[in-house]
């Protein structure tokens, strides 16, 4: 188990991470989601022992990363955000170099090399100079280096950056498979990637954790038991729209937007009721022309925007 306890990191006067706490257990893939500069990479760097926190602790079982850095690093496979590599080295030699420092006996290296080459689809470039490999291959070389010693913990900072859609699916499946037996923490700013890959999402904003739970839990928590309905009507009077609440008490009108030839109405209602028939009958009584009426569900992006107050992630 990994326990992050009141972790803070200051760069000068800038508070990059503000007293965050969470726990990670084996057998699940956890996604670390946040905009650029939110504090994701700083947290991961502290967790891997690359930098020290200003305050707080990271425990791996009962060992503190500050005290047993090298010992804990034996159990961690880490893919840094920018995936720096020795471009002049041959892929095989690079993985051998990493495995030597990881303490893998030379007799076991061949098997370990074959395993990661297979899992990361590196057959075509195994004996090529890293500098001559494509960005997608470089990303997979970094991943292979993180996995060469079959670690108990994988910390992956933006693991699918630079991969094409087919490669993303392959790596996603690999991460899911690894997550069944290891602790996998991956960061990403690609919402769809996080949603498709992880079991649990931690959203970080301006150095603080603003949400922590499964995708479904986050959606339910955010919606607070309410559902949304969006309708577009013609021939409607704005006063009639506002009076609709008096006729159908279970709804709340959240927004009215006047377009050139129509009016857009956004409604909220308790998700255990369905006021659509009443709304339809009200519209008919007022001789509105309904162009569109659609129940909308919140997605992760809406939640992210709501929690971070930002429109985009990159």
């Amino acid at each position: 188990m990994i326990k992050v306890e009141n972790l803070s990191k200051n760069y000068g006067t800038v508070e990059a991470v503000k007293s965050i706490s969470f726990e990670l257990n084996g057998g699940q893939v956890v996604g670390f989601l946040g905009a650029n500069g939110a504090g994701k990479s700083t947290t991961l760097k502290i967790m891997t022992g690359y930098i020290s926190p200003s305050s707080g602790n990271v425990y791996y079982g009962d060992r503190n990363i500050q005290d047993d850095t090298s010992d804990i690093q034996k159990d961690i496979g880490y893919l840094p955000e920018l995936n720096p590599l020795y471009s002049e080295m041959i892929v095989h030699d690079y993985l051998q170099f990493i495995s030597e420092i990881r303490g893998i006996p030379s007799s076991d290296f061949k098997n370990a090399f074959q395993r990661v080459v297979e899992e990361c689809s590196l057959n075509a470039v195994a004996h090529r100079t890293i500098g001559n490999c494509s960005k997608g291959y470089k990303q997979r070389i970094g991943l292979a280096a993180a996995m060469i010693h079959d670690p108990k913990i994988l910390i992956l900072d933006e693991p699918v950056t630079g991969l094409d859609p087919n490669q993303i699916v392959e790596i996603r499946q690999l991460i899911k498979k690894l997550g069944k037996e290891k602790i996998v923490l991956m960061s990403s700013h690609i919402l769809q990637e996080i949603q498709a890959t992880v079991d649990r999402i931690i959203i970080i904003n301006e150095g603080s954790i603003v949400a922590d739970g499964s995708s479904d839990e986050l959606l339910n928590d955010s919606a607070k038991g309410k559902a949304q309905l969006k309708m577009e009507v013609n021939n409607a009077d704005e006063n009639d729209i506002r009076d609709m609440k008096a006729t159908i008490p279970s709804i709340d009108i959240t927004d009215i937007v006047k377009n050139d030839s129509s009016i857009e109405i956004n409604l909220e209602f308790l998700s255990n009721s369905d006021p659509r028939v009443d709304i339809f009958n009200y519209a008919v009584s007022k001789k509105w022309i309904i162009i569109e009426m659609v129940a909308s569900k919140q997605n992760l992006e809406d939640i992210f925007r709501k929690l971070t107050g930002k429109g985009n992630l990159s």
Binding site: Y11, P80, M89
Partner: protein
């Protein structure tokens, strides 16, 4: 120790995987060869004193050139994050890199054996003891300058700046012996003890004194200690 050897092997291979090592070795051999041969036949002396005087000067540019990228390049490319998150102590990283630079200096010195062969062929009454201690002195001075070079490389992530800092510090150590006459008496002894030239000249004369060896060992240890602290300082940035 195993990790130090792994880093050492990688660095040495990296030197020879790029044209840099070959360019440095050729330039080193040519410079020393030119300075040696232009005076060797002129004076008609059976010794390598000219070579032992000129190599420390060539070191002034050669060694910062060899060491400038050892740590600064890792910082610049970000690969320092890879090796620092592997189960390896920072001191092993520094020591492995330092030893690779010393090994390259040793290889460069091998090229000067050609002059020794020339001396053995054409000269007579050669003082082989002085030749041995002369080479020992060059290796020790090279090792001191390499420790300064590795330190300079850890100061910045820019290789050019690292090269300039390396030359500047080595130049100060080289200069100590030259400015002695301008020093007040109470400082002269200390400045002389700090001078690399002073200790080298003792060894080159064929005298292996423990004080000289302690001096070289202390300076190397001091700069490698500072380098390790600099590498560790990333944690607290």
């Amino acid at each position: 120790m195993q990790n130090t050897i792994t880093i050492f092997k990688r660095e040495l291979k990296s030197f020879f995987d790029s044209p840099m090592a070959y360019v440095f070795l050729i330039v080193f051999a040519l410079l020393n060869g030119w300075f040696f041969t232009t005076t060797f036949f002129l004076y008609g002396q059976s010794d390598l004193r000219t070579l032992f005087n000129i190599v420390p000067l060539v070191y002034l540019f050669f060694i910062p050139g060899v060491t400038m990228g050892l740590i600064s390049r890792e910082k610049g490319l970000g690969t320092i994050e890879i090796i620092s998150t592997l189960p390896i102590e920072d001191r092993d990283i520094v020591l492995g890199k330092y030893l690779s630079a010393v090994a390259l200096i040793g290889i460069a010195l091998l090229s000067t054996l050609l002059h020794f062969i020339t001396l053995s062929t054409f000269g007579n009454s050669i003082d082989y003891g002085a030749v041995f201690t002369g080479y020992l002195g060059l290796i020790l001075v090279g090792s001191v300058y390499a420790s300064i070079g590795v330190f300079s490389s850890a100061v910045t992530d820019n290789q050019v700046i690292s090269f300039i800092i390396g030359i500047a510090i080595i130049f100060v150590f080289w200069l100590f012996d030259k400015v002695l006459i301008f020093m007040p008496d109470f400082l002269a002894g200390t400045i002389q003890y700090l001078s690399v030239e002073f200790h080298l000249s003792n060894i080159s004369r064929g005298v292996i004194d423990t004080r000289n060896i302690i001096y070289f060992g202390s300076v190397i240890g001091f700069f490698l200690f500072l380098t390790t602290r600099l590498v560790e300082s990333r944690r607290w940035s």
